[in-house]
Amino acid sequence: MFFEDDETLQMYVEESLEHLADIETDLLAMEEQGEEIDEELVNNVFRAAHSVKGGAGFMGLDVIKELSHNLENILGLIRDKELMPSSEIISVLLKSFDRLQELISNIETSNDQNIDEYITDLKNITNDTLPDAEKKAIEEVCEIKHPMSATALKSNRYDIEQAKKQGKFIYILEYDLIHDIHKKDKNPLEVINSLLKSGIILDCKVDISYVGTLEDDIPNRIPFVILFASIIEPDMAPILVDLDAEYVFNISDDKLPEQEEETQATPEKQETASEKEKNETENFPNSEKTAPPVEKEEEPEQHAKKGSESQDSEKKSASISQPPSKTSSQPQANSSEKSNSHPENDQQDTQDDAAKKTISSLRVNVNLLDSLMNLAGELVLSRNQLIQGLTSSNQHNIESASQRIDMITSELQEAIMQTRMQPISNVFNKFSRVVRDLSQTLGKEIALELEGKHVELDKTIIESINDPLTHLVRNSVDHGIESPDVREKAGKPRQGTINLKAYHEAGQVNIEIEDDGGGIDPEKISAAAVKKGVITEQEANLLSDKDKANLIFAPGFSTAEEITDVSGRGVGMDVVKSNLERLGGIIDIDSRVGIGTSLKIKLPLTLAIIPSQIISAGHEKYAIPQVNLDELLRIPAGDIKEKIEKVGDAAVVRLRGMLLPLIKLSDVLGIEKTYKDPETGEIKPDRRSNVADRRSKDLFNPNDNNNFSEEEINERKESDRRYHAASAINIAVVSAGTFRYGLIVDDLMDSEEIVVKPLGKHVKNCKGYAGATIMGDGKVALILDVASIAEMSQLSTASSSKKIAEEKEKMDSSSERLKDQASLLLFRNGEDEQLAVPLNLVQRIERIKSTDIEVVGGQRVVQYRGGSLPLHELGEVANVQPLPEHEKIEVIVFQLTGREVGLMVSPPVDAVDVVLSVDEETLRQPGIIGSLIIHDMTTLMVDVYEFFKTLHPEWYTEKEHAVNIDPETGESGNVKILFAEDSSFFRNQVKGFLEEDGYDVTIAEDGEVAWNIINSEENDFNLILTDLEMPNMDGFQLTAKIKNDNRFSGKPVVALTSLAGEGDIEKGKSVGIDDYQIKLDREQLLLTIKNYLN
């Protein structure tokens, strides 16, 4: 080849691979379309093959040319609707395109490759489709001579006939490589590509004979001839192809050879394919195989493997009879030394190599490049500004310049990151094929759904997740989805579904692989793990179900009985996990037996720069990647005793109802714990050994006035460092995968974006660190590896999770017993009086100035929201202390009977969750239901309704008894409600206002009693009101019984609860509860009941 241009070759390779990249998806789409072929789609694939062929012809890549030519034939047939793309045909096409891709990726050796098998398969297809005459035409190769020279181009008759049929003209175009292309600064591939846009290239070649030998003069013309078919008229043609008219030869019909040709066979130029020809043979040592359809079995006997050099060199000769091996395609010359590979080559390997080789270039949006240019320009300007400011010592300029540089740097970083972002569709699209092939092999029916193809990831991440994702998808197909029969038996649809989803969330990319297969059985996994010695039996017993499922990630694990080719080598999952972790990502598994499995992968958006939280421990700073950080906690000195508890010998903190194990970073690392002296700012060693080491509060009980005076206590508190702000505990709540814990650190500092730098060999093996970074002050800070720190402190999932699970159970069961939890609003009246009202009755809390209170008609009011809010204090009804005088007054606003009223109270006003065990006798009085102990103080529970009713009886009109007309009997009677509630407090309350509203209420102390009452048929209730937590039979069971019994299923059941969690509501719905009401919300309850009774 004249150019010898690695560049041109490289470009050809890149372009071809690009063309071929989409082919797989298109072919699969074609398969699905079946009869209704989308012509566009087929054209796409056709054009891809065609341009590959064109370039190959030019480059002398004969094997590629032949393969693509055959592919083209088939696609042409499909496009012309003469061939229907069946599954088998598509499979052949897929395989052939795969091979083509391989050939192109290993372009140097491509001419040595053996593609007979593929050619035969392809030819078989075409042959079956075409009528005999046309079959011959395909075989037949015509030689078309260049009018002016000895050059001859060849094409098979079939193509020429087709072209003529389409009304195209056949031209021979003669480009001069030197003048027309090289000097005009064009590039042969560009020429070919532009020609392809307006017609078909049937053949092309470079007339190398013109180059001559070294002894000749340098040629001034090297013809590049192309056999071109196009509908462009002869007079327009030269303009289109950008040639002088004298070099455009219109081959009219008469010049076309009519019949078979006269080209001699050159017997020693054995083609690699079988040669039994009866047809004309060719003189093209290149690749045109005119072998007629041969039985496949005969093939192997015939063909000679292309290992021998002689074949190669023969093949290399250009179609011109001159022997020009010195100028023949260089890449092939080199390749003759390479051994050839089996056609059955390990496709995986070459594909991988190909993948790695080709990912040396990238497509970038031009807009992005423009903005990068802009940013670079701005950076230059700001730098100039900075330098100027520095030399002239202008502080202001320096500051503004550095601000700009700060901003520009961030933008620059982002823009550069974006250039590396590629859509994940690159990876996803391959999976359609993987799933298709694999499910066919295994005889399963599987549909693959892809979501979020546009989600973009950094290039390196995309390259790295390819393998792990493939493994996971294959696992799903192999182990996850059951065979159609099994599925049918289980009542599932025969076709299984695998869902691949990608989306951005919280600064990370999430990838989910979900299947509706058999799920992962924790017991099986754990048994297998014990068997393989991954964990001991005792350890296995300590694991929760989720942990057991996670065992599949343990090294050396595999449940497949035999190692199938597909998966099950026992090296899969843990490699996947470690690969993902290396990328800074995490993987989690969630599975339910019989229902399906869901694998969730989280990956950071970029590898190099991560946002992190800087903390200090010992005398050093460390960084915690934000991806691992959930939240930051600070426990003030005074609360430590309460909030931090011990489970076994591990310290835990209760966070929103969950127990969080605590780890002291300084202990794990074996460094000295320090604290910052609040006055001097010095870092000093902290000698507290016990996390929960605080003087007992009781010792300083303010109520115990005997030993200490107030001032003394306060002073002591302040000077005692243990109570000081500095002795608060700083906790970073981190998570490694699903395992969360709190890391106790000395100090919490800023959050910063840091550049991750790898640690050297000697430190790499050190546990606990995931790299290092350089801080703004030049010092090195180590980046903590949250997962391994947990391991180091032996607080891994296996050992502690059970303990924590136990604790949780205890907590849950205790909350079961202590049902009737409620949220209360605490406030004060007199100095030592603490009172409470149910929080859900509170509309708002306001603070008003005492000067704003007006007295109108003996009633205190305040202007409020455009109206007057009546104000009262507890002393008006109850026997309590008078409200002390203050400038500012807290007012709790309630809404009753549609009106708003305010209750004046003293601070502190606080909300609290407590167990309602109300003492209804001791301190009962008007307006006060009873008392309970909250925060060690006797607290009076205010009865809001009674209170305001006493003050404003006119608001509550007498209600008639609700009358009910029985539709069947026409009798009228009172509405009867059955109320099941075990707490007497609530019973009385609710019964009270139900009866006031005119209902007949029958009470039952628990579900069983209620059921007996209903069953006895003495009373016919219109509505059942039930508590949920009751001893012998709870509300759920009661409802279930009622609804399942035909006699009563029509009755509405309303549940009263202090719990209204999602889970409970679901549970309630499933047993048939009609409505949920919060206890003590009288008005709402009455309204609901009224609705249900109508």
């Binding site: 460094i671 790898p758 640690l759 050297g760 060999k761 000697h762 050190c766 350089i774 090195v780 800070a781």
Partner: protein, 147 residues
């Protein structure tokens, strides 16, 4: 910039580790500095003193004394870090005191004894004799290879 022909001569930077005088081919040395503000790495091997920020790169600093099996390098104002190139990283070796750069003829090098100054012979590539003393030329690969 050596005026000596590369093939014949060897330039060595010499330094003391404990009592032993050792040398390293200067072609392997990136620089020698006095930066001691390393960041310690808790839980690392005991010969790892910490890491340094060397113009944007993170360099691990090892206590050469400990690494060679001697007692740790005592803190002294004469201490220096010798930053060497090792595969594709840079590693710093903390030594007690540096000495001269000497030139040795390659053909005048001897093979190392089993033990030199308390350091095992396997750490040395060769030794060179000078008028006053013996200098053991360290084999960086052996010294720095992690198990």
């Amino acid at each position: 910039m050596s005026k000596y022909k590369e093939s014949e001569y060897l330039e060595l930077a010499t330094f003391y580790v404990g009592e032993a005088l050792c040398g390293i081919d200067i072609l392997n040395i990136q620089e020698i500095n006095k930066q001691f503000d390393f960041t310690t790495i808790p839980q690392s091997d005991d010969f790892v003193k910490g890491v340094l920020n060397l113009r944007g790169r993170i360099v691990t600093i090892l206590d050469l004394g400990k690494k060679l099996g001697l007692s740790p390098v005592k803190k002294h104002k004469n201490n220096r870090n010798i930053i060497v190139n090792f595969h594709d990283e840079q590693i710093g070796l903390l030594v007690d005191k540096i000495s001269d750069v000497i030139v040795a003829k390659k053909n005048e090098l001897d093979s190392p004894p089993a033990n030199l100054g308390g350091i095992q012979g396997s750490y040395f590539e060769n030794i060179v004799k000078t008028e006053k003393t013996l200098i053991g030329i360290l084999d960086i690969d052996t010294v720095l290879t992690t198990d």
